[in-house]
C-alpha cells in the first residue's frame, strides 16, 4: 500500500480574526517537500498573517497549521530549528557587524562549524568584503543579502519569505532570485514566498496561491492560471482577481 506523505506545510481551515477584522478567513492548502510556492495578494490580503501563523508568531483563531508534522504554534520548538524567515520589514541589529550578527544567529540555530558556514555564505552571497562592517552601514541591497544569509544560516528545510526583493533595484532583485532558486535546488527546501512582484513569482514559483480579503481566490500553476484567465502575464491574472473580473469571466463561461 502506498504511504501517504503529509505535506511539509499543511494549512487547514485557518482563520485569524483581529478584533472585528477577519485577516485570514478559512484558508486551506498543503505544500509538498521541495516545492516553491508564491503567495500573491494585494495589501491586506492576509499574506503576512498567514506566514506569521505558519511560523508560530501569531496564534490562529481557529483551524490548524502543521509544519514538518508539528502543530503550530503549540509544538513550534520541535521544528523552528529547521525553518527560517526573511523579510525587509524585520531588521538585524545595526551596530553589530555582519559577522557578529551571523555568529549570534548561527549559535541560536546550533550551526556546526559556524565560521566555515559564515565564510561559505559570505562568498556565495558576495558579502565577504562586508563581514566586518556594521550592518547598519550597508546599502539596502547589501542588507537584504545579509538578511538572506541569516535566513540560510541553518540550511532550513522550510524557508518563508515575505517580499524578499521589495525596495531592491532590478539587478540586485534578480541576483537574489537566482540565489534563492539555487538554494532551493541544492537543499530541496520547501519555500513559501509572499510577494507583490508578479515577475518574481512567475519566474520562481511552480505554484501560485492568490489571496484576497483573507481568502484564497485561486490556486494553480502559473501556466494553468494564464491559460484559464486567457492572459499573457501573472500581473494581468492578479488584476483580474483583484478587481473581481475572474469571477465574471468564469460566470460568463
Amino acid at each position: 500500500m502506498a504511504k501517504i506523505v503529509e505535506p511539509v506545510i499543511a494549512v487547514d481551515q485557518l482563520v485569524k480574526v483581529y478584533k472585528t477584522t477577519r485577516a485570514v478567513d478559512g484558508i486551506s492548502f498543503g505544500l509538498e517537500g521541495g516545492s516553491i510556492t508564491g503567495l500573491l495578494g494585494g495589501n491586506g490580503a492576509g499574506k503576512t498573517t498567514t506566514i506569521a501563523m505558519i511560523m508560530g508568531l501569531v496564534m490562529p483563531t481557529s483551524g490548524t497549521v502543521r509544519v514538518l508534522g508539528a502543530d503550530m504554534p503549540r509544538q513550534r520548538y520541535h521544528v523552528l530549528h529547521k525553518m527560517n524567515f526573511e523579510s525587509p520589514y524585520v531588521d538585524m541589529p545595526h551596530r553589530l557587524t555582519v559577522r557578529q550578527n551571523l555568529k549570534v544567529f548561527g549559535r541560536l540555530y546550533a550551526v556546526e562549524d559556524l565560521d566555515a558556514r559564515i565564510a561559505t555564505l559570505a562568498e556565495s552571497l558576495d558579502l565577504t568584503e562586508f563581514l566586518d562592517r556594521p550592518t547598519g552601514k550597508l546599502s539596502a541591497g547589501q542588507k537584504t543579502r545579509v538578511a538572506l544569509a541569516k535566513a540560510l544560516i541553518n540550511s532550513p528545510q522550510v524557508l518563508l519569505l515575505d517580499e524578499p526583493t521589495a525596495s531592491l533595484d532590478p539587478d540586485t532583485a534578480d541576483w537574489v532570485r537566482s540565489h534563492l532558486e539555487q538554494f532551493r535546488k541544492e537543499r530541496g527546501a520547501t519555500v513559501l514566498l509572499a510577494s507583490h512582484n508578479m515577475a518574481e513569482v512567475e519566474r520562481l514559483c511552480e505554484r501560485v496561491i492568490i489571496m484576497k480579503r483573507g481568502r484564497i481566490e485561486d490556486d494553480d500553476t502559473p501556466q494553468r492560471l494564464l491559460v484559464r484567465y486567457g492572459r499573457q502575464t501573472l500581473e494581468e491574472v492578479f488584476l483580474d482577481v483583484a478587481r473581481g473580473r475572474g469571477e465574471a469571466r468564469e460566470a460568463a463561461q
Partner: protein, 273 residues
C-alpha cells in the same frame, strides 16, 4: 507535562550564550552605552555623599549613622539599574526591529529571560563596581565592609529588579513601544514605599502595611539596622527572599501570559508603537 511544554522550558546554554554574546558585542561597539552605565550612579553617589557629609556635620545622630545615605543610594542603584539593565537589553531588540527574528528562532522565552538576567548582572558590574570604589575614595565608605550582609542585600534586590524587568518585558511584547516609558519609570513607584532613605516607621500606618509587601523594604530596613545599630537582621532577609520568590514566579507567569496574548493579537509582528 506534554512534550511541547517540556520543549518550551528546556534550557540550552548555547542559545543563552548566543544572546549574551549579542549584547556584549553591542556594548563593545558603543562607548556611549558603556559611559552611560557609570554616569548616573556616579552622579547619584556624589549628590548623596556630599549631602551626608553636610548633615553629619550638623547632626550627632547622622554623624553616628555614617554611610547610611551612601549605602542607600548604592543599594537603590542595584535595584533600579538591575531592572534597567534587564529592560534596556530587551528594548535593544525592539529598537533594532530584531524581535521577530528571535521569536522565530529556536530561542525559548525562558532562555531569553536568562540571557537578560545575565546581562543585567554584567551591566550592573560595569556601572556599580567603579562607583563603589569612588565611594571609598571620596567618602571613606567601604560597602564591601558589610560582608555577608551585602550578599543578602544584593541577592534580594536583584531578584526584585528581575521580577519587575520580566513584567515590563511582557508588557512591551504585548503593547509594543508605546509602553517603553514603563521601563524607565515603574521602579520609581517603589521608591517612596520601599523606604530607601528613611525608616518604615515614618510612613502612615496604612502605608506601612503596603510597604511591608515589598521585598526591598526589608533590605533597606536591614541595611539601616546594620549601619546604625550594628545588628544583622537575618529575619528580614529571609522574609524578603520568600517574597522575592513569589514575585519572581509571578513575574515569569505574567511574562508567559503576556507573550501568549501577544501571539493572539499579533503584536509580535509589529514591534513599533
Amino acid at each position: 507535562m506534554s512534550a511541547a511544554a517540556t520543549s518550551a522550558i528546556t534550557l540550552a546554554p548555547h542559545r543563552i550564550g548566543a544572546m549574551v554574546l549579542r549584547y556584549v558585542y553591542l556594548l563593545r561597539s558603543s562607548w556611549t552605552r558603556l559611559l552611560e552605565l557609570i554616569y548616573w550612579p556616579a552622579v547619584q553617589l556624589f549628590v548623596w555623599g556630599f549631602l551626608q557629609f553636610y548633615i553629619a556635620q550638623n547632626s550627632g545622630f547622622f554623624a553616628r549613622a555614617s554611610g547610611v545615605f551612601i549605602a542607600a543610594v548604592l543599594m537603590w542603584d542595584v535595584l533600579f539599574r538591575g531592572q534597567l539593565g534587564f529592560s534596556v537589553s530587551f528594548l535593544e531588540e525592539m529598537w533594532s526591529r530584531n524581535l521577530s527574528n528571535l521569536m522565530i528562532s529556536p530561542l525559548r522565552p525562558i532562555e531569553f529571560v536568562c540571557a537578560l538576567m545575565i546581562m543585567s548582572l554584567i551591566r550592573l558590574a560595569i556601572g556599580m563596581l567603579p562607583v563603589t570604589f569612588l565611594a571609598m575614595a571620596f567618602f571613606g565608605f567601604n560597602v564591601y565592609g558589610l560582608g555577608l550582609a551585602l550578599a543578602a542585600f544584593f541577592v534580594n534586590l536583584i531578584l526584585t529588579s528581575w521580577a519587575v524587568g520580566i513584567v515590563v518585558a511582557g508588557v512591551l511584547l504585548r503593547n509594543g513601544m508605546g509602553a517603553e516609558s514603563l521601563a524607565w519609570t515603574l521602579m520609581f513607584v517603589l521608591m517612596p514605599l520601599a523606604c530607601v532613605y528613611y525608616p518604615v516607621s515614618v510612613l502612615p500606618s496604612w502605608l506601612q502595611a503596603i510597604a511591608w509587601t515589598l521585598p526591598p523594604t526589608y533590605v533597606f530596613e536591614g541595611m539601616r539596622a546594620l549601619l546604625m545599630e550594628h545588628v544583622i537582621r537575618i529575619d528580614l532577609m529571609l522574609e524578603a527572599f520568600v517574597l522575592n520568590v513569589l514575585y519572581f514566579a509571578a513575574g515569569v507567569f505574567a511574562f508567559l501570559q503576556l507573550l501568549k496574548s501577544a501571539r493572539r493579537v499579533g503584536s509580535l509582528l509589529q514591534s513599533g508603537e
